[in-house]
Symmetry: C2
DNA sequence: AAAAATTTAGCAACAGCGTTGCGTAATAGG
DNA sequence: CCTATTACGCAACGCTGTTGCTAAATTTTT
């Protein structure tokens, strides 16, 4: 959450969020862990821990006897103290997941959406799905909100779907507003790829470096985590990575330019040469590394995950083979640890992040 | 400045920096301006202004009578209260500028560097140049430090030049450390392009959105300003934008890949077809916009500035002609307002920013 | 078995920040 | 003159994390 004013209440939220991030990353932690991670004094950490314990967000979970001296109290998050629901709205399917405060993703539910579904139809599907999920353990009181990860273009700040690609009925729909009214829950709207990279970052905690999520699924998109936050760009339109030109003399793309990564990749995949398609994608990934210098690259998307090892091998090789990459310039390439749930899970985590994540002060 | 601990003293620096940013952007300001910009209470702003005035960083500059009521006191930065020196180290030249607290760039001095200059030779040139600049008005006491913008690869955090491209004698040189010792000044080391984009951002203030500086000068590089801060990447190696592939079947580049933006552009420029070269660059710029969704693109670099209008026209047209760009997706393209001084000036501003800029809390 | 050493934890007083309450100064208009 | 209006600051306050010091729990030493 971006704010401008820096008064003392900001410190409270910031330091509490730091402790929560430690708990999420490490499962269990103790006072000394937090002291090291935050630089606060032990007494200061005690106060923060006392507040979080009183709120029911963390709890003692035994003691640790490191040898001599009084044993240290070990704490853990209370996973079932808060939940959020995440939705991945694709062209033909709606995927819903339940995510708890610890970042655990509970079994997902996929339901079909009608071709060219309307906002009303989506709201109906969301409403039914949420009732089912929230009914499991009577979570209503502990439900923080709903996160929606969706194809763009859209405006994250205003909660507005501008013109969802390939869907009629979705021009300038104020989805966040109407969904909040319809569902009675706080709603967070973001691009699918941005939600996806948030999932990876949220689970890795504050030590997660600059990263990208590469998603191949009816198009190629990229979600970015830069400088400790999701990068959405000036108009929430970052990530149209598939429409970067990699072949000046290549075939014409639907976007009007020639030789976009997406069309070149698509032609290769269409011809059945997945290995070649994967190498094309890898060229695009290395382009990203040259431009942004990333520490992590995460691969995801239904089309990619049909041939996970082919893509993983091609990208890993291209990243490693780049002659300019010295030993100090390391990048880890991996498949999404959450598989097909990554978008929905990330959308849910963004909601939790608004409440229990590290607050941001003013920037651009 | 990145820090982790959030104690009350953080608020002090943050709010003071907010006021300084207002003063830098607006030249003159009053209490109500700051109240609006920061969300602080009027009384809170009074306290901040009192502290800054006592430090000599700002001063009253008259009153404004808006009609009825007590006149408001108008404040301004005291430009000559603090200075920083910026250095742009290129392959054959050293450019030095003096920048004051208000961001005004004072006349620059360019001196040649020997072919394949050594660290010692650079230190000598820096030392001589700084003595000349600092002697102008006996600035020694008000000199905040020296910023160095240099070709990479280098490590910004450690102040280490890893392997400056095209320069022997520059493998793993701890330039910041030895320069601080030699010159007796705090030194800040960064990639040239990153320093350049900082200059643009520093002058525009907090409202400056996501932006890139495209630099064409013995190679093509990019500096990025994302989310209110310079983006350096995981290893200070972001910006190798010239080595992104735009033509899969293109000529082999020095980096080993085929069809890099840099080699394709270079071939066109070499053939004398600047217009074509500019269009190639424009393709790369649009690639960036698709990926990062930028609000500003700034063009700079000696080779580019030899044909400023050709490049400006080509990039502006390519950005505007992209069929996918709707009316809400606006990007401003401009030539660097600081011309050839942009790198050196930005390096100096980074030093001022460390002391009087908005502090950052923990991130990646 | 008792004393010393070591580590963890918390109470109480404190310093520093912005906020709140309220009084004061300076101007224009009637 | 008096009043309305706007700008501004002193003093008290609430909230943060910090500092100083004491207590508790455990292992090691005597």
């Amino acid at each position: 959450m971006t704010r401008v004013t820096a008064d003392v209440t900001f410190l409270r939220g910031y330091n509490e969020a730091m402790v929560m991030a430690v708990g999420r990353t490490a499962r269990t932690f103790e006072r000394s862990t937090v002291v090291e991670a935050t630089g606060l004094t032990p007494q200061g950490v005690s106060k923060v821990i006392a507040r979080l314990t009183a709120d029911g967000l963390i709890r003692p979970a035994g003691v640790r006897r490191p040898g001599i001296g009084k044993p240290a109290v070990v704490y853990e998050l209370v996973p079932d103290s808060r939940y959020a629901i995440g939705a991945h709205v694709a062209r033909r399917t709606l995927r819903l997941v339940l995510v708890d405060l610890a970042g655990t993703v509970h079994p997902s539910a996929v339901s079909p959406l009608p071709r060219d579904f309307t906002p009303e139809q989506l709201l109906g599907a969301l409403s039914a799905g949420i009732d089912t999920l929230a009914g499991i353990g009577d979570l209503r009181g502990r439900l923080t909100g709903l996160g929606i990860g969706m194809i763009g273009p859209l405006d994250h700040a205003d909660g507005l779907v501008r013109d969802a690609h390939g869907l009629r009925h979705w021009h300038d729909v104020p989805l966040r507003e109407i969904a909040e009214k319809h569902l009675g829950l706080p709603v967070h709207l973001d691009k699918d790829v941005t939600a996806g990279i948030t999932a990876e970052a949220w689970r890795h905690g504050a030590t997660f470096g600059d990263a990208a999520l590469i998603m191949v699924e009816s198009g190629i998109g990229g979600g970015f985590w830069l400088g400790g936050a999701a990068h959405r760009g000036a108009h929430t339109n970052a990530g149209e990575f598939g429409h970067t030109v990699v072949d000046l003399t290549g075939p014409r793309c639907v976007c009007g330019r020639h030789g976009c990564l997406e069309i070149v990749h698509h032609r290769a995949a269409e011809a059945g040469d997945i290995a070649h398609a994967a190498r094309v994608l890898a060229v695009g990934v290395v382009n990203l590394l040259q431009t942004l210098d990333l520490a992590h690259v995460v691969l995801a998307g239904a089309d990619l995950l049909r041939h996970p090892q082919t893509y993983l091998a091609a990208v890993t090789e291209a990243v490693g083979a780049d002659a300019r990459r010295a030993d100090w310039l390391s990048t880890r390439v991996a498949l999404s640890s959450l598989g097909a749930d990554v978008i929905a899970a990330g959308a849910a985590m963004q909601v939790l992040d608004q409440h229990y994540g590290i607050p941001e002060l003013a920037h651009s």
